[in-house]
Amino acid sequence: MDELIGPFLSALVDQPFLRTALLAGLLASVGCGVIGTFVVVKRIAFLAGGIAHSVLGGMGAALYFGLDPLLGALAAAVVSALIIGSVRLAWGAQEDTLIGAIWAIGMAVGILFIAKTPGYSTDLMSFLFGNILLVAPRDLWLMAVLDLALVVTVALFYRQFLAVSFDEEHARLRGVPVGLFYLVLLCLVAVTVVLLIQVVGLILVIALLTLPAAIAGHYLHSLGGIMLIATLLGAGFTSGGLALSFTPDLPAGPAMILLAGACYVISAVVSGLLRGYRARRLAQPSLGTP
């Protein structure tokens, strides 16, 4: 382990770009913990995946017109979230078909723009799979501002987001503007997607958005607790993936996802065994007391 992590730690001291990458991972983990928890409990992972992929349209358009791709990504993510959310609120059904359409249309638009962008061809791979080592120090500021916006919004309206995630009908009967909070929640998902795209790219986003919260959900039964632990797990996966990929010179994004995926599989098995063990103990109460 030492020969794997040692060079990473000494490079962390010498190389500013590596420190920037580490910070980017930590900033992204806030979004993946807080908003990822809503994505998991409200079961909107497919919706989040649709938003993530449609972002390529915005990035491509921004490149073509000479703007910052990150701003294009943010705009595309929010627009997709609002389209999917409003159609579901207005018509109810067929949400999955619509998500599939937005997913593919966004990517198609993005690829056309990138193909027609003058100058040398942009690295499509870094959009799709991310390159945390290319995060610029000024991007950290944008990420920090997005994090702050997420956390403040969720903290102020925690009860409403909880109610809308748990039981929309009851929330509506209690006078909560369910449509508004649902759309805001989807916009928060969009912002988180953009945060995470910096780190792992738009194809792998969905794993960082769901796996930390799903692992925390194996053991914890309160939303706040899951958010906290998912944030810490997210920080562990991004930093751990970065460290593990450094010495063998592997791409960092896939290393993070594989680390998260391995932990998820292990956790699913362990928590399943634990549940079975507890159920058997409960079924035989006389065994424990001779």
Partner: protein, 245 residues
């Protein structure tokens, strides 16, 4: 029921259909303050639809509904509702107490966390339905009867004037069914109650009045319920079975 008390629910000439299928036709119903009304009828007779109209979750295509002297949407927060099927995932990571607290939404300020008064009200409501010991339990670990008590506490914690329940005992055994209805009878001292059931024989021991709904609505005092009425409502194939446990 007090004579001359103003109606808390007033429905006039109400019709509703889903697409081309008429569900409710020309319904008139008045519920006075303090009444305990049972709404019975066969499956797909429109009972749940009528409740959703009274709650303002659906809008009538014709006719008028007034609740507590205003529109159903306006009156919503003063009405407690216990649904037939919980409209949430049972594996959601949330405790019974947190579920009950959601009944306080709309009473406390919009920003921030629940106040001390909200927690005290949740504690009282759980006590009232004899479910204090369930407060910390995860919602997914509750039995059908326990969940029903928690949902009743969620409806009560908002300090409603009317309590509306849709088949509150559909998924629980007969003994617990009796306990829940005894609880409702006690609550009737301060609340108007409208309860949907498919079991006319059982609820007639508790309610003042039965409204029979099968697309159209007919009201009966509880004393007048007999075999003829059951036949008229459900058709010839139903036999009434007298039973005591």
């Amino acid at each position: 029921m007090q004579a001359g008390a103003p109606p808390v629910i007033r429905i006039e000439g109400l019709s509703f259909s889903f697409g081309l299928a008429p569900v409710l036709q020309d319904i008139d119903l008045q519920v006075s303050q303090g009444e305990f009304v049972g709404l019975v009828g066969p499956n797909a007779g429109g009972k749940s639809t009528l409740l959703k109209l009274i709650l303002g979750l659906l809008r009538p295509q014709s006719g008028r509904i007034q609740v507590l002297g205003t529109s159903p949407q306006e009156a919503r927060r003063r009405v407690g509702y216990v649904p037939q099927y919980p409209s949430f995932q049972r594996d959601f990571p949330i405790s019974a107490e947190q579920v009950v607290l959601m009944g306080r939404l709309g009473l406390s300020p919009a920003l921030g966390w629940y106040r001390r008064a909200d927690r005290e009200a949740a504690h009282r409501a759980l006590g009232e339905v004899e479910a204090k010991d369930l407060a910390r339990r995860r919602i997914g670990t509750l039995s059908g009867g326990q969940l029903q008590r928690v949902l009743l506490a969620r409806a009560l914690v908002g300090e409603p004037e009317i309590l509306i329940l849709d088949e509150p005992t559909a998924n629980i055994d007969q003994r617990v069914e009796g306990e829940i209805f005894d609880l409702l009878a006690a609550l009737n001292a301060r609340l108007t109650i409208l309860v949907v059931s498919h079991d006319i024989a059982f609820i007639s021991g508790y309610v003042n009045r039965v409204a029979c709904l099968n697309r159209t609505l007919v009201c009966h005092r509880t004393k007048a319920i007999n075999g003829d009425l059951v036949h008229q409502l459900y058709g010839e194939s139903v036999r009434s079975v007298a039973h005591r446990h």
